[in-house]
Amino acid sequence: MFDLSGKAALVTGASGGIGGAIARMLHKQGAIVTLSGTRADALEQLKGTMGERAHVVAAKMDDAADIERLAKEAEAAMGGKLDILVNNAGITRDNISMRMKDEEWEKVLQVNLTGTFRLIRATMRGMMKRRFGRVINITSIVGVTGNPGQANYAAAKAGLIGMSKSLAQELASRNITVNCIAPGFIATPMTDVLTDEQKKGILGRVPADRLGTPEEIAAGVVYLASDEAAYVTGQTLHINGGMAMI
């Protein structure tokens, strides 16, 4: 089950905790993987731990031309195909709305939502031709529940869900599925900086009473990328230890 041998996957934000775990698990299941992100050295380091079937194409998700280049170079690196696209790149610029600057709002929308749309559009053509595609957008629990201080991030993540449902309907007849995964609180370098007290506060809202692991998110990606998930499209898979049941 869930064998991805011969499939070509592109993972954005692969230098992060969740993105790295996703790339490693897709690779372990047999996929050829292209790692993208802004930090080329971190991506090369990850590639070094993976051995063969791994490529690096650094790109900035707030740059339309760079996204076009990423799509082309990733396909070229993987023998002219791209079957699985995991849009995991994302940034935060947290601030209460009263104080949120236009640039904080725009930057988060640009990278998390617009950049993702552009990359899907740039890779869709090949998927349509090959009559196969798996698009998996990493959204967030916050996109469904909201979170004070994250109006921009929550809007972008909610936007991903609506966009994915629309694309799923456009592309279903071509054997291309488009789904979201919405992680809850996951142990990554981003959450390592929280104090014990902050963590305790968060865990009070998580029935599983622990943070999730990046591998638990990656396992969801592997499932949605697999042939077995062909009939699942337009969905959001919540992986959050029971923190929100939607």
Binding site: R125, M128, K129, E170, L171, S173, R174
Partner: protein, 79 residues
């Protein structure tokens, strides 16, 4: 010209699974040949490949009949 027309019709027949006799020059892809909007995008992609040309989006939108496709390709094809 006739060569282009033949190649265009062949692509339309293959892609939309229609009878060659239906593929007249005034036949509309969507209204007469049962294409959906994605089919029209894919037909344009197939024409681009077959004739090694680029069909910009604004031109592609105007290609609604078999004849539209033939005349665009005839006036823009390199080969």
């Amino acid at each position: 010209m006739s060569d282009v027309a033949e190649r265009v019709k062949k692509i339309v027949v293959e892609h939309l699974g229609v009878e060659a006799a239906q593929v007249k020059e005034d036949a509309k892809f969507i209204d007469d040949l049962g294409a959906d909007s994605l089919d029209t995008v894919e037909l344009v992609m197939a024409f681009e490949e077959e004739f090694s040309i680029e069909i910009p989006d604004d031109a592609a939108e105007k290609i609604q009949t078999v004849g539209d496709a033939i005349s665009f390709i005839t006036s823009n094809a390199k080969s």
